[in-house]
Point group: C2
Chain length 363, copies 2
Amino acid sequence: MSQNHTYCVIMAGGVGSRFWPMSRSNRPKQFLDILGTGESLLQQTFNRFLKICPPENIMVVTHQSYRDMVAAQLPSIPKDNILGEPSRRNTAPCIAYAAYKIKAKDPEAQMIVAPSDHLVLKGEEFTRIIREALAAVQSAPILVTLGIKPSRPDTGYGYIQFTQEHLKGHDPVKKVKTFTEKPNLDMARYFMESGEFLWNSGIFVWSVNSITDALNHHLPEISSVFEDDMDKLNSPEEAGFITRAYTVCKNISIDYGVMEKADNVYVVPADFGWSDLGTWGSLYEHMPQDDNANAVAGKNVILYDSKNCVVHMPSGKLAVLQGLDDFIVVESDNVLLVCRKSEEQQIKEFVNEVKISKGEEFV
Amino acid sequence: MSQNHTYCVIMAGGVGSRFWPMSRSNRPKQFLDILGTGESLLQQTFNRFLKICPPENIMVVTHQSYRDMVAAQLPSIPKDNILGEPSRRNTAPCIAYAAYKIKAKDPEAQMIVAPSDHLVLKGEEFTRIIREALAAVQSAPILVTLGIKPSRPDTGYGYIQFTQEHLKGHDPVKKVKTFTEKPNLDMARYFMESGEFLWNSGIFVWSVNSITDALNHHLPEISSVFEDDMDKLNSPEEAGFITRAYTVCKNISIDYGVMEKADNVYVVPADFGWSDLGTWGSLYEHMPQDDNANAVAGKNVILYDSKNCVVHMPSGKLAVLQGLDDFIVVESDNVLLVCRKSEEQQIKEFVNEVKISKGEEFV
C-alpha cells in the first residue's frame, strides 16, 4: 500500500500581518475564512490533501500557541500530528522537524510540504501534479518543487529557472537551473517573456531520505540536532527535545539553505489557479467582483460611486461607502482599516506603529 | 422679579438624519455629544439658558417618544416642562403649544424659543443679545428674531433683510424688511455683500401676548384650537387634549406662517459663533483640526496621508485611515459611513435606501 508512505506537512506558523486587521497575532491568516467560503485557508489546504493521503498522515507544523486552534479546525487529525514550534525559525527547521519525525516512524516515507494559507482554485489539477511529483521522487533521489507559470511580472515572488532536461521517464519534471529572489520589474518582465521562469510556490515533494540527506549536506548544523536525538521524536520527550533543539537551530529558509544549493532539484511546472494570497490586493484578484470591479465580503455593504475596492466587513455591520476608488476597507472586531490598494505594502508598518502607540489589543 | 416671567422653550423634535449613522431615529442629533465635549447639544443649549432663567422656567418640546431621553439628560427640569408632541407638525404648532401653556399660568410672560441642536461658541455674547431682545419685547409688542451676520454666501439658510429703522430706545433692534428662503449662489453673494441681510437663526424672543396675537391674526386655525381649551393645559387633561389638537393643527413653520406675514417683526443682528450644525461639513468647521486640516473625534484614530477629513469613531475602536482627502468617516454602533464631504447631501438618500433594503435596525 504505497499510500501509507505518503505524508503531507502543512506549514501553519505564519502571522500574515499584511491581512491586518482581519488577521491578528492570536488569529493569523491561515485560520481565517478570508475568502468568505465558510472554510479557513488551513481547512481548505487540509481538504485538498485528503485527496492524497488519509488524515492520520497529514501533519501541521505551527507555533505552539496555535496548536489548540489547529486541533479545533481539524478535528479529524490526531493531536500528535500537530507539531508545535516553540519559536519561529523560518522553513528549514520546521521542515527538518517534520521530516525527522516522519522518518523516525516510516523511513520509506515520501512527504509533501505546503504552506497552509495559499489559494488553489483548480483542486483536481493540483492533485494530478502532486501525484506526478510523488511518482518522480519514488523513482529517483531528487528534491521537487512546484513552479507556477507566471501570469504577470510580479516582483514579490521568487523565480525558478528551469531547463528542458527532464527526469528520465517523467517528462514534466524539469531540472532546475537557478533560484532567483524577488527581481526588479525589468528583470521580472524578462523572466516572464523568456518562458524559462516559474514562480516559487513553496510547495515541495521529496522522500524523507532525500531531504534528510540534503539537510545533512547543506545544513548539517540543523540536521545534526535531529539526527542525534531521533528516538525522542514520537515519544513523551518530544516537546522538551524540540524546545532545546529550537534554541540551537538557526533561522533560515529551506530555499536559501537547501534548494538554491542542492544539485538534485527539479521543478514541475504547474497551473492550478494558485495565489499565495500575500496581500489584500492579491486576495482582491481572486474574489468575485461587481460591475464596478469591487470585491465585497460582508452581507451589509452598500457602495455608491465606488470602484476597484476590496471590502471585508463583519456580517452584522452595515457599511455605506461612497466615492472610493481603489481602496481596501476592512473592519474586524475593534479595528477599521481604510487604505489605498496601491499603498498596501504600508500595512505592515501600520501594524508596528499601532502596536507601539496603542498596544497589543489591536494587533 | 422680572426673571420669573422669562421662559425658555427649547425645540427638540428633530431627527437630524444628515448626521447618520451617529444620529438614529431613536437617538437624534440633539441627544448626541456630537462635538466630543462630554455634553449633548441639548445639554449645551439648556446650560446656555440657565444664564437667563431658572430650570423650572425652561421647557423642552419634543416628540413624545423622546420625553424620557430629555428627562434623563436634563434631570433638573420638572417633568411637566417636557412637552411631548404626538406627531411632527413643524414649528408653528410646537410654538403655539408652548406659548399657550406658558400663557395659561403666566399671562405676563416673555419667552425665548430656540432649537436644541445648534452650536453657540460665544456664550456671553449670546446671553447679552438675548437680554437685549428681552428688554425690547418688554417695551413694545413686537416679534424679535436673532439674525446671524453671514460669514459666507451659504445657500442652505433663510435670509432676513433688515432696515436701519430701529425700535425706539433699542438701537440694535432693527425693523425687518423681508424674509427670503434659501437663495441661489448669486443671490446669496449679493445678500452677503449688501450688508443688509442676516441668516435666520430660528431663535425668537417675544411676549406670550405678542405671539398669541400674531397666531390669532395669521394662523387662526391653529390658535383657535388652543384658545378654546387653554384650561386643559397644565391639567391632567393636557396630554389627551394635545393628541386631539395635533390631529387638526396643520403642518407649517413659524417663519412661513407668522414671521414672513407679520408687520411687527424686528431682528437683532448677532455674532455669537453660531452654527446650525446641519451637516458633517458644518460640524467639521467647528471642530479642532490637525496640521492636515483633519477634524477627529475618537481616542484611537490614526491618519496617514490624509487631509480635510472629519472622523468620528467610538473610543474603543481603532481606525487606521490612509490616503483619504475630504472624506467623512463615521462609525456608530453597527454602522460605518465613508462619504466624500462634498457629497454629504446624499446621506439623507443613503438613510432612506438603507431603511428600505436593510431595515430599521440600521437607521
